[in-house]
Amino acid sequence: MISGFRDPFEALFAMQKALESRFASDWMGGRTAGMGSYPPINVFQRGDGFVAVIELPGIDKNDIEIEAKENTIRISGRKSINYDQAASVHRRERLLGVFDRTLSVPIQIDPDAIKAEYRDGMLALFIPPAESAKPRTIKITS
């Protein structure tokens, strides 16, 4: 758990190292269609559920489409930048275009319970575990 650091930079560094150590881990079991495709995704565990954090800077949230079915989540959309036609270009590093990516998560999820939030160019998907996947206690009768 990354917490208890007094210095926020130290906490950030610890998280950076933790992220690095999980690079392309086999959590997805190689089932993630198009690994290395846009947009890059980080998946975190929080309690029983998962949080997928996706960097999508400069995209109108109405241009992002998220669909969930069984244990797959599809994120698609377009990124456009309105350039002033009269302007001359000094540098162009930002990329634009369309994207479409499907995630297959190795857990049972409840597609209706996924919540999405877009803030400061970051898309966060809050993925709770499916009710049916939660362990339950079985009572012994007689």
Binding site: M1, I2, S3, D7, P8, F9, E10, L12, F13, M15, Q16, A18, L19, E20, R22, F23, A24, S25, W27, G36, Y38, P39, P40, I41, N42, V43, F44, Q45, R46, V51, E55, L56, P57, G58, I59, K61, R78, K79, S80, I81, N82, D84, A86, A87, S88, V89, H90, R91, R92, E93, R94, L95, L96, G97, V98, F99, D120, G121, M122, A124
Partner: protein, 132 residues
Amino acid sequence: MDTQQELQVQQKREVESKQEATIPARVFVPATDIFETDEALTVSLEMPGVDKDKVDVKVENDVLKIEGWIDFSRYEGLQPVYTEYNIGNFARSFQLSSKIDQDRISAELRDGVMTLVLPKSERAKPRKIAVS
């Protein structure tokens, strides 16, 4: 502008600083577009995860310096299980020419993209010369 092309993943570039930080946390270079019109220079920097209260833009000795800090509190209590990119703060600087009116630089941050408008000084604007 053709927006039908498929977006590619852009690897994040790290800042190569002259001084070393005491804590070796990674700082990234924001992907930047720079355009020039007759009136101004527009600089757009991608800094996903940076809130508008967590940016610092300053001009010192004709150098425009932009820094952005991600809101790390959003990652508290999260345990990475699968990752494809690293996170970190952003920093980039640009040398300004004397054409820029440094007192009128404006900045806006929206959806993780910071847009700076650097107006040209009156002296540097193109002008028509009337023939009498």
